[in-house]
């Protein structure tokens, strides 16, 4: 039997198309517990590779023969070794090229919908990390919101669509992943916007993103309008696109809400978070489709792979929007918070331009789930 090499793109298709897959994850138990490849119909077996050095015979009965089996490890080496052992044992051995490192970096662009006058809105789903970026396209121009650091993906996509990137926004200073925003702006000549209240320490030039800031994209003048919505950070800003979509950044997710502690000021910002979720957002139309900057669990993905839901539906179903008692709300979002994202303080420093790690160091910093929410 031969050894097959799968790309992250092939695994992404399995996730998005709700297909079955059996994953033999050979990282150590802590790493698996912390973070794995999530799929609606995926099954898992976690046996660290170092327990398989003497052979895979013992685990063969646990590995199905009637569905695809993929061996996964941190960077590839161990999964290749185990896939070869499976192959020698007469099974089909397949491994994930680049391992969890590459999975963490893979981006899948999915069309969310059409905009007025032939425009389009795309969501870039980073399945391995739960990050969501957006591109608004309209007749020759594009705006990008919350771009992750793989800037080529966005610039190539814009070229493919024959549009010039004119505006680049970050809804806030990110703490879980490294932003590609200012680098895209630098290479394309686009204007880079950042909320000034999040940017007090940044060491590069930017255009202030203020409440009411509006740009128009392309000939059909798709409105991208900013709404100040603090709480995750003090500068956090949302966008309404084409009077139809609400990009909430890290304030409101599908099944959870933003956490107020990643810049160290949970107690100070919990009031802002409450005000944004329970007053400012309530004044908006329930018909808006919420597009967040993250998802935390695979159940937040729709059938087509997008992460999107009507605001009215979230008001009815999202637990974080239904805590009537203010004291209870305060307690939920400031106490018993999940662990903070890996290296979040260093990531903030990178996004402020204060430190410039190598690509490899950036990859290490971004390992693991995003953890920007409280449920």
């Amino acid at each position: 039997m031969s050894v097959l090499k799968w790309s992250a793109a092939e695994v992404a298709k399995k996730v998005i198309n709700n297909e079955e897959l059996f994953i033999l994850d050979v990282r150590n138990a802590d790493a698996f517990e912390d973070w794995k490849i999530d799929g609606h119909k995926f099954e898992y077996l976690n046996i660290p590779y170092f327990e398989l050095l003497d052979g895979v015979e013992d685990i063969l009965p646990k590995i199905p023969t009637d569905k695809d089996v993929l061996v996964v490890c941190a960077k590839e080496g161990s999964s290749l070794m185990v896939a070869e052992m499976l192959s020698e044992a007469g099974r089909t051995g397949a491994y994930l090229a680049g391992g969890m490192k590459t999975w963490s970096e893979y981006l899948e662009p999915i069309k969310v919908g059409d905009l007025t006058g032939g425009g389009e809105l795309y969501q870039f789903v980073r399945l391995g990390k739960g990050c969501l970026s957006y591109m608004v396209i309209s007749e020759g121009e594009a705006a990008i919101i919350d771009a992750v650091r793989f800037t080529d993906t966005f610039t190539s996509f814009a070229e493919e669509k024959n549009v010039n990137i004119k505006y680049v926004f970050d809804t806030h200073l990110h703490a879980d992943h490294i932003s590609g925003g200012r680098h895209i702006a630098a290479t394309t000549g686009a204007t880079y916007y950042l909320p000034p209240k999040d940017a007090e320490e940044v060491v590069f030039d930017y255009t202030p993103l203020l409440d009411g800031t509006t740009v128009q994209v392309g000939a059909s003048k798709i409105d991208v309008g900013a709404i100040y919505s603090p709480g995750h950070t003090i500068g956090s800003t949302s966008f309404v696109v084409d009077s139809k979509y609400l990009l909430t950044g890290d304030i409101l997710f599908i099944d959870s809400i933003g956490r107020p502690d990643l810049a160290g000021l949970a107690e100070d910002w919990v009031g802002d978070l409450r005000e944004t979720l329970y007053k400012r957002y309530r004044e908006l139309s329930n018909d808006l489709i919420v597009l967040p900057a993250h998802f935390m669990i695979i159940d937040e993905l729709n059938e087509d792979g997008t992460v999107a839901k009507h605001l009215g539906q979230l008001f009815a179903e999202n637990h974080g929007l239904n805590i009537k008692d203010e004291a209870e709300f305060r307690s939920v979002v400031t106490e018993h918070l999940p662990p903070q994202p890996n290296a979040y303080q260093d990531i903030r420093q990178v996004n402020m331009g204060k430190i410039t790690p190598t690509q490899e160091e950036q990859t290490e910093m971004e390992i693991g789930p995003n953890r920007c929410a409280v449920r």
């Binding site: 150590n28 138990a29 802590d30 660290p48 590779y49 170092f50 327990e51 960077k75 161990s78 070794m81």
Partner: protein, 75 residues
């Protein structure tokens, strides 16, 4: 610390540091100590986890200029 056997696994990436460590440990008698040097960050978590699974004891761990040294006593 005095070790019975020294293993240089610097520059090797996963899974080779563990594969070599296991082979080296297999040549030792119970109670003897293996000193292994690695540079792969993955080994930092994997060597202790591997040792624990086999009952070996990590007597000491030191990091200097990106080189991690483990002293492992065979079970």
């Amino acid at each position: 610390m005095k070790s019975t056997l020294q293993l240089d696994a610097k520059g090797l990436s996963c899974p080779m540091p563990i594969v070599k460590t296991k082979k080296a440990i297999d040549t030792l008698a119970s109670g003897e100590i293996l000193e292994v040097q690695v540079t792969d960050k993955g080994a930092l978590a994997d060597i202790p986890a591997w040792a624990k699974a086999g009952g070996h004891i990590i007597l000491d761990k030191a990091e200097d200029a990106g080189v991690i040294t483990f002293f492992i006593q065979k079970a």
